[in-house]
Symmetry: C2
């Protein structure tokens, strides 16, 4: 991420590399083959107002360090700091910044543009939060222009105040989405100067980022600004759109909790007061926190395509959509038993299987062995249903609506952490970013290098043409209800058809995120936090 | 820093590597040759109270992710985010954590222990703030045990409340120092289990970290807990000890600003209220902020050795002390003129030299050329006096007091950033940590590798024996008033004698930190911040 462990030289001179954008000049960096522009402002915005264009400037602005990331209401140190290393950064409400990696700074280059939209629900995260997001390798490997961006989140990005002031705060429930559209507009107007093709833009995101991509597919004002889409663990069974009546009610409650004399004060009070009020209201709600998400409306979000008609403007967008084997159900935390899952005795495993699946245990194991022949049966404890079924069904839904092809995939590679850990939510990012060797917990010498060549290759090929098929991997069919096609990313990469239908049928449906219990002997006792 | 860009495998199993400490078991990681233990708690502490020993525990605690770092009153994105890449991390008052890198987890190994105390004045920073602080390479290269630690800072580490309650809050002005002593005690009692020699501990620090080392040399309760000391850009001309009457007055003012009903509330109010009060009081003081520093007292700080007698308990401690050529006066920000200093015309350079040095310009350049023959004369604009003179005189002072030898050094390597940048405050850290290839702004292929071998070699040799001399570098004499010996670290490493006395005489004395003006065209307009 920042900085890379270098084995190469960098050029960072006042006059090179400099790119002239329509608004003014930007000075970046050059690292043997890749130009970097960090912290490029794509919009300005006052709190609770729509993003505006950045005014033109004289002279040359520096773009050599990252811009601030969006403020977060609460930043815990999660156990996944090990499995999914985070780069925490300075938080500020003024967070409309993007980063660019490119091999060309000539207008004629017109390389495919791959835009990364970070995860963290709609509440946390940033363009640089995970080391996996570093765009250098993807840019270099694929000769593509990589863009990653920050935008407004949580109570400054998705707090719907329209019930308090219908006119002034009409869009407050979707400001985070409005920021994304503003960034895509900036890319349309500026990316050519960075060697990118504004007519070939792929948006991609994982988890919340996948949710944002899913929402942008249903955003009329975003139609035409992107041409391909990638959703990684971004849809889950039981997902529901946030309705205006719900979001307006939440906004009203937060305003009440603030107890302001004049509602306009909400635009200038310290962020922590706002966040505390939101936390308080969240604490009183089911689930213990406010659900921040795009609000169904007529301008920014027509409602997700799983539950609503697909909008016309994006029906022609091909999609890569997939999930990972364990998602939130992996064995990070030794919740079932101490030690490595692969060291448990057969008796112990069966006892746990019966505990979890009751008299369905044998059937589950049989279906698991059919889906993944020879895999350890203990893995049946950790296979996630919600993400897998939702991604599969998403393809079927788009097919029914007559949309462009959707390619379905599933990442199943076991990582060496804890003597064997099932693929966890977001482990695949390092593979499609060609950054597998950044991740201590999942790096397998020889295996990781090969798999990232294939995955990054497929992602790049998809960004170039809308079809991920390239010679380096097995043939991959668009998923249909009939073929049930799914590309499995593992030590052996292979296309399967309807391989886990029976298994999915047997696994119980759960809440979107199962509780990822804390390791009881974590060195951090009191729940360390960056609280407000 | 975290994570390393790997080309190696990691073992991270529930049962390996595990170290049994006197209080309980800790599970770490193994990365081909180096064991890592992150986030090991060395003390507990209630706010405004002395640190206490960690209670013993059953089972095995995880030590695979970093512990939280101390809360900061304000975290700006500095321009130096590029030149000195920062790893920002979760902040919490509960921050008594250290990290260990070692090649051995057997008691008999008894390797030298090198303890890194971070900089950032006494207000900011952490054990993992800079990428340069990653201990893996130093451990691997030198076969030493590297420890880095967090401790309390700013208004929770150095706010003297003794005027408010003489008994209860007696030590509040030096809690940050008390934490350091607690960490050194933990090392004495535990490090053997990690392959370290408790009888051979070297403390080292840069900037504020050097100041902390300087203070520990004058701390009776720390005497015997360390055996060698390294001070890097940690002393500056004009430095003054903080006196109890000053610190007590500051504490009183902050308490007044808080307007508490009961003084005990100060132990539980949210940190941001405390920090805001301290900021308010600071704003009303000369300099615009509170000076947080150890307070001269009878227990934790006898007053710095530059101004006070050296305490007996540490007179036998040999010291490596030095500074860098530019410190705060480098040419990051193009404050004198746009473009690279090395591209300015001779006329322009002389015009700037006259602007800065008036009719002394010719004399300064002559002295600079005598000190650094053939160096660009433009560099005379950026040579720092305060750090260089203070380090040199510090050696003389210790000599007069009959202390163990002090070895003086100066780092002068020009970095490629901006087409040539004078060595800035803390650029040398990457070289004594053998991490030069982490720093985009200073990495020079071939040169950086060689120089880091020499500097890390000297630091390790010093940690082993108290004498930095090893075959890989020129002979290095302890500095005396008579010999004026100083090791110059540059493309050519060389010992010089009295080389810059005349130059230092000519340079004007300045405030400790000159203003490091912001680049006028930084992309960050409004001063992004992580504010409270």
């Amino acid at each position: 991420m920042y900085p890379r462990k270098l084995t190469r030289s960098v050029i960072s001179n006042p006059d090179y590399p400099v790119v002239e954008t329509p608004k003014g000049k930007l000075r970046g960096l050059w690292e043997e083959g890749v130009f970097l522009f960090r912290g490029v402002q794509y919009a300005t915005a006052k709190r609770f107002h729509l993003p505006q264009e950045v005014p033109a400037w004289e002279g040359t602005k520096e773009a050599i360090i990252y811009g601030p990331v969006c403020v977060e209401m609460h930043t815990p140190i999660a156990h996944d700091q090990y499995n999914v290393p985070h780069y925490h950064y300075i938080q500020d409400e003024e967070c409309h910044y993007l980063n660019i990696w490119t091999k060309h700074i000539e207008k004629g280059a017109k390389k495919p543009v791959m835009v990364w939209i970070h995860g963290g629900g709609f509440s946390t995260g940033s363009s640089i939060e995970l080391y996996a997001y570093d765009g250098h390798e993807l840019c270099d490997f694929g000769d593509v222009v990589v863009v990653s961006l920050n935008h407004r989140l949580n109570c400054i990005g998705y707090l719907d105040l329209s019930a308090v002031d219908e006119k002034e705060y009409k869009y407050t429930g979707n400001l985070g989405q409005a920021d994304l559209v503003a960034a895509l507009r900036w890319i349309r107007d500026n990316i050519e100067a960075f060697g990118g093709d504004p007519d070939n833009v792929t948006i991609m995101g994982q988890s919340g980022g996948g949710g944002k991509v899913n929402a942008l597919l249903q955003t009329p004002s975003a139609a035409g600004l992107f041409h391909k889409a990638v959703i990684q663990s971004g849809v889950f069974e039981g997902g529901k759109d946030l309705l205006p009546e719900e979001s307006r009610e939440i906004g009203k409650k937060v305003v009440e909790a603030l107890n302001l004399k004049d509602i306009r004060e909400i635009e200038t009070i310290p962020y922590y007061l706002l966040a505390r009020a939101a936390q308080k209201v969240g604490g009183e709600m089911a689930g213990g926190r406010i659900r921040f998400a795009p609000v169904k409306d007529d301008d920014f979000f027509f409602g997700s395509c799983e539950l609503n008609p697909c909008i016309e403007g994006t029906k022609n967008v091909p999609v890569l959509i997939g999930s990972v084997l364990g998602e939130f159900d992996q064995n990070f935390n030794q919740v079932y038993a101490p030690g490595s899952k692969n060291s448990w005795s057969e008796d112990q495993v069966w006892s746990l299987l019966r505990q979890v699946y009751g008299d369905q245990a044998e059937a589950v194991v049989a279906a698991q062995q059919k889906a993944y022949p020879g895999a350890p049966i203990v893995d049946s404890l950790f296979i996630n249903r919600g993400g897998r079924v939702a991604a599969r069904d998403w393809c079927r839904r788009r097919e029914k609506e007559g949309c462009a092809p959707a390619y379905n995939w599933l990442f199943t590679l076991e990582s060496p952490f804890n003597g064997g850990t099932i693929a966890w939510h977001n482990v695949e990012e390092a593979y499609m970013f060609h950054n597998a060797c950044y991740l201590e917990a999942s790096y397998i010498p020889g295996v990781s290098e090969r798999l990232q060549d294939i995955m990054t290759g497929a992602w790049v090929q998809f960004a170039r043409t809308g079809d991920p098929n390239f010679v380096g991997m097995p043939l991959w069919h668009p998923a249909t209800e009939e073929n049930g096609a799914c590309m499995i990313f593992d030590r052996v990469v292979r296309e399967e058809c309807h391989h886990d239908d029976a298994l999915m049928e047997l696994l119980p449906q759960k809440a979107i995120m199962s509780k990822n219990a804390r390791h009881p002997l974590s060195t951090f006792g009191g729940g360390p936090r960056q609280s407000l």
